[in-house]
């Protein structure tokens, strides 16, 4: 208190001369003095750790207990002394018989003989909480309810049935409270919708919120008139069972809401002290402010009606119930005679006006002005709305004459407003402003310089209100409107021309591409037709009548010789080959495994037809997955047929055919068909004398070209003549097949 007095003196020494001249300003200073000192508060700190944050306060067995970040403290001989060491404690829960405390991890302890007794189910609860941030833990009807900020955990610990369960009231509960037998939870189901979803046992409804819910901590309290107050950041809404009643914005984030036994509402603010409203209607004319810009975390009331405030960094404050109503003495104590000397009468007049105007209805018994019923909050209230001005407007950093409307070119898009508010109390003025056309909501600030940069062309209206330290807003905003013209290249005619131009060019390009595509499609269609035709021809060559009838003839030979078993074996091989050929023709590509099976059948039947004139082997590199790799159907067989018909069949003595499959690279399979036949030169000479059809090769050559042009593949064929001692010794065909 001594310190406070000194402060008044220095304040007065500095400005005293000026004050004496203007009465109204003197009154302002008078209010400021009272506001700053908070005469009725006692302050308690811990001598060992004076800067703690006090999360919660409770009276238990006639002692005041406090939770801080270091543990539980007790008020003893005007000092806060630590009685339980435990970090991470959050708040108390008082039941009729016991006192509990919960931690930020959702653990619950009972306080017994200055010790924490953990609940046996703590481990189980923590598992369910899964590191989510706890919003609140409450106790109602022999059950605890734990709600988290994010995630769907709303955990019920029923002590009667000893069960823990996750309640599915709503997907993201903000809070859960149980009043009058109703379980109420609220959530924000859809953050983009900015609404509070309230869910009770009997009904559910939504209340629009001004700001996105995010993950911020929320408060809810039921008032004596059975309505609820819900706060989130600086928004406070009041609602009852299914109706939204009203909404206010507090300048600072609300840490805690409390209603005392007299019905007053107390908001503990972050960096904003405390605000008290006379009742749940939250009328701005009934505001009292205390504790400057301290961060207040918790509020509690003891049995005597004293109020306790836990702060962050400044210990605990106590507001004595009897001291809350300031008497004449205190006015004298804290008002320097120097201030009053020449203006006492004026002050009294002003004071009396306030007192009469603001007296609560239940206290409207007429009493002398300077009697003990003068309440500090009434006296120091500054109920005159402040005025707000826009002092200067800077455009692109240059000062301009302040006009009510500006027409600006597009490059003049950085605008700074300098604002000021005039009120009876010059300090504590706050502003809310909005640039319509840019801001979507009111912005609260104490800065007097507001700067917008890179504004897009368009029409804007800047509005600003000021609020005095009693929370009263100016009745009329200060307004400036301005229009930023679009640059020529954004103007309507230019854009229109541009759009038309782009559309016309787009159409032209579209038609050109269409035409090109049609041409291309036509070509592809033609190629497909040719490919189809050549496939048919390939089939016909594989179903070479010469081969078919000769094979049948060989089988007939078995029958006539009564070798029925061989006849049966070869007949089924023949059937299998026919079947495979038929089914392969339906597909463009077949697995290498199927191709090898078909080749084997073909070679076996050719062996039969040529009376085992040749032997064959098919070698597959072990790195090749024959079931996975696919090759064009009916591609290899014609080369094998060629090797047999033109190479081996004319050869004297036994022939050998070797087919190898080797990996060439990642995209190519190398297929080698070797024979030790008479060679191509001799075959051509012989061919002149025969009429045997050899169109299989030509067809295949055409197919290779077509497959390449259709798929862009690099299918290629290399034919080498093998020679021993310069004499023809067979042919080697290398096929490179894309896989």
């Amino acid at each position: 208190m001594l310190i406070v007095k000194q402060k008044i003196t220095t304040f007065h020494q500095k400005f005293g001369g000026l004050l004496r001249l203007i009465i109204i300003i003197q009154f302002v200073i008078f209010s400021e003095v009272l506001f700053a000192q908070n005469p009725s508060f006692s302050n308690y700190k811990s001598s060992t750790s004076p800067y703690l944050q006090f999360n919660d306060i409770v009276e238990h067995k006639n002692k005041m207990l406090f939770i801080s970040s270091e543990g539980v403290f007790e008020l003893k001989n005007k000092n806060l002394s630590k009685i339980i060491i435990e970090e991470n404690l959050s708040k108390f829960i008082k039941t009729p018989k016991n006192l509990y405390v919960w931690s930020i991890y959702g653990e619950i302890f009972e306080i017994k003989n200055n010790q924490l007794v953990p609940f046996p189910f703590n481990k189980l609860v923590q598992k369910r909480v899964e590191n989510k941030i706890i919003n609140s833990v409450i106790f109602a009807d022999s059950a605890f309810y734990i709600s988290t900020i994010v995630g769907s955990a709303l955990i019920q610990i029923d002590l009667k049935t000893e069960t823990i369960s996750n309640l599915k009231l709503s997907p993201y509960p903000y809070f859960v409270v149980k009043f009058d037998g109703k379980l109420i939870s609220g959530n924000n189901q859809n953050t983009s919708k900015n609404e509070l979803f309230v869910n009770t046992n009997s009904n559910s409804f939504t209340i629009p919120l001004a700001e996105a819910a995010g993950n911020s901590r929320t408060n809810i309290v039921q008032l004596q008139d059975k309505t609820y107050l819900f706060s989130k950041q600086h928004e406070v809404i009041r609602f009852n069972n299914a109706t939204f009643l009203n909404r206010i914005f507090v300048e600072k984030n609300v840490e805690f809401i409390f209603q005392d036994s007299q019905g007053k509402i107390w908001f503990a603010l972050n960096s904003g002290g405390i605000i008290s409203y006379a009742d749940g209607s939250l009328k701005e004319t009934n505001i009292t402010r205390y504790l400057g810009n301290q961060t207040v975390i918790s509020v509690a009331e003891d049995a005597k009606g004293n109020l306790w405030f836990g702060t962050s960094g400044n210990g605990v404050f106590k507001l004595e119930k009897e001291l809350e109503n300031i008497d004449a003495n205190s006015t004298i104590t804290y008002s320097s005679p120097a201030i009053f000397s020449s203006t006492e009468i004026e002050n009294e007049k002003v004071q009396s006006k306030f007192i009469l105007k603001n007296l609560p209805t239940d206290q409207q018994t007429e009493k002398p002005i300077n009697s003990k019923t003068i309440r500090t909050d009434r006296v120091r209230q500054d109920s005159l709305p402040p005025s707000v001005f826009i002092n200067s407007v800077k455009i692109n950093g240059k000062d301009t004459t302040t006009l009510s409307h500006y027409e600006l070119s597009h490059e003049n898009n950085a605008i700074e407003f300098n604002i000021s508010g005039i009120s009876n109390s010059p300090s504590g003025i706050q502003y809310k402003y909005m640039l319509e056309g840019f801001d979507k909501e009111w912005i609260y600030t104490v800065n007097t310089s507001i700067y917008y940069t890179s504004l897009a062309p368009g029409s804007y209206t800047f509005k600003v209100f000021a609020m005095n330290d009693s929370g009263i807003w100016s009745t009329v905003p200060s307004v400036i409107s301005f229009t930023i013209q679009p640059p020529f290249y954004m103007s309507a005619w230019f854009l229109l021309t541009l759009v038309f131009g782009v559309i016309i060019i787009g159409f032209l390009i579209y038609f050109l591409i269409q035409k090109q595509n049609q041409l291309k499609n036509k070509q592809i269609e033609e190629q497909k037709q040719r490919a189809l035709a050549s496939e048919l021809q390939a089939l016909r060559s594989q179903m070479n009548p010469h081969f078919i009838f000769n094979t049948l003839n060989s089988i007939q030979n078995f029958i006539s010789k009564n070798e029925s078993k061989d006849a049966s074996i070869y007949l089924s091989k023949f059937a299998k080959l026919m079947r495979a050929t038929l089914s392969n023709t339906k597909r463009q590509r077949i697995s290498l495994k199927d191709e090898i099976e078909t080749l084997t059948l073909y070679l076996e039947l050719e062996q039969l037809r040529l009376n085992n004139k040749f032997s064959y082997e098919i070698l597959v590199d072990e790195t090749i997955d024959t079931q996975y790799e696919q090759v064009p159907s009916m591609l290899i067989q014609p080369y094998v047929e060629n090797a047999i018909w033109h190479g081996i069949s004319h050869k004297e003595g036994n022939g050998i055919i070797r087919i190898q499959f080797l990996p060439e690279n990642e995209h190519l399979l190398k297929c080698v068909i070797e024979d030790n036949g008479i060679g191509r030169e001799n075959a051509i000479k012989l061919k002149k004398n025969t009429t045997s059809p050899s169109f299989g090769m030509n067809i295949t050559k055409e197919r290779v070209e077509l497959l390449n042009s259709l798929n862009g593949n690099q299918l290629s064929v290399k034919i080498n003549d093998l020679k021993i001692n310069n004499q023809p010794a067979g042919t080697r065909v290398e096929l490179y097949v894309p896989i």
């Binding site: 007949l571 089924s572 059937a575 079947r579 697995s591 495994k593 996975y628």
Partner: protein, 250 residues
């Protein structure tokens, strides 16, 4: 000695099969039937263990015969010359079949399968039921059911419920809609590829054979990858990319 009945409208076909069976296998042919009517009375009379059943017959075909029978307590091996559609349905239901002309090796394999099988009439009937259902639903593609044989038994799965086949060494994992676990079968992935070749499935990778109806998203990349309806992300092999994109855009 197992009792068998041969049903085939062609006399040659019946007699040829009977001859081989008599000569090489210890199976007793109790009767030969030339049509469904004869077959029904032969089955009632002889209560066979095995029925060789030709599919194509004038009048009532092989499937009609099965539908007509109230009680089936024998195994069936179908015989057919060429019927792609019927063979597909038989393959889906994991029943046995022989192609005509009958190959001795294939016949032996089929008989061995019949003998080594633990006789479970309920399973056989389920397979037959699946077959007849598939046939009666017409060739409606993925509405048909397929038998997936895993370690625990047979599973009758709608083709459209199959999301993907995943090759794991010599095993194949079959991932199906609405199943927490997948089926592990000893069939190679290529066998399923052969079976479902006409059913909008595609082998995007050596290890993956996927149902195109279950592709949710294709993300381009070197080969890119697909996101399936079960949320799995599967790599597409580089050289399958072009063909796969073409298939997807159809």
């Amino acid at each position: 000695m197992y009792k068998a009945i041969i049903v085939d409208d062609e006399k040659g076909g019946r007699e040829h099969l009977a001859t081989i069976l008599k000569e090489f296998f210890d199976i007793e042919i109790k009767a030969q039937a030339a049509n469904a009517k004869e077959a029904v009375s032969a089955i009632e009379e002889h209560q066979p263990d095995l029925l060789f059943l030709d599919i194509e017959m004038p009048g009532e075909n092989g499937f009609d015969l099965l539908e007509k029978l109230e009680n089936i307590n024998f195994d069936v091996i179908f015989t057919t010359a060429y019927d792609h559609y019927a063979i597909k349905a038989i393959k889906y239901s994991a029943l046995d079949y022989l192609l005509k002309p009958i190959d001795a090796d294939e016949l032996e394999a089929a008989i061995n399968r019949f003998k080594s099988k633990i006789r479970n009439q309920e399973l056989t009937n389920n397979k037959l039921k699946t077959l007849l259902n598939n046939l009666s639903s017409g060739d409606s593609g993925q509405e048909q059911k397929i038998v997936i044989h895993d370690g625990e038994g047979l599973n009758f799965i709608k083709i459209k419920d199959i999301i993907r086949f995943h090759s794991e060494g010599s095993y194949t994992d079959v991932h199906v809609v609405g199943q927490d676990k997948h089926f592990v079968t000893s069939k190679q992935i290529g066998e399923y590829e052969e079976m479902l070749v006409n059913e909008q499935f595609y082998r995007i990778h050596r290890s993956y054979y996927i149902n195109l109806l279950h592709v949710k998203k294709y993300v381009r990349g070197d080969g890119g990858y697909v996101v399936m309806s079960d949320g799995s992300k599967l790599e597409v092999s580089r050289r399958k990319k072009a063909e796969f994109i073409q298939l997807l855009s159809q």
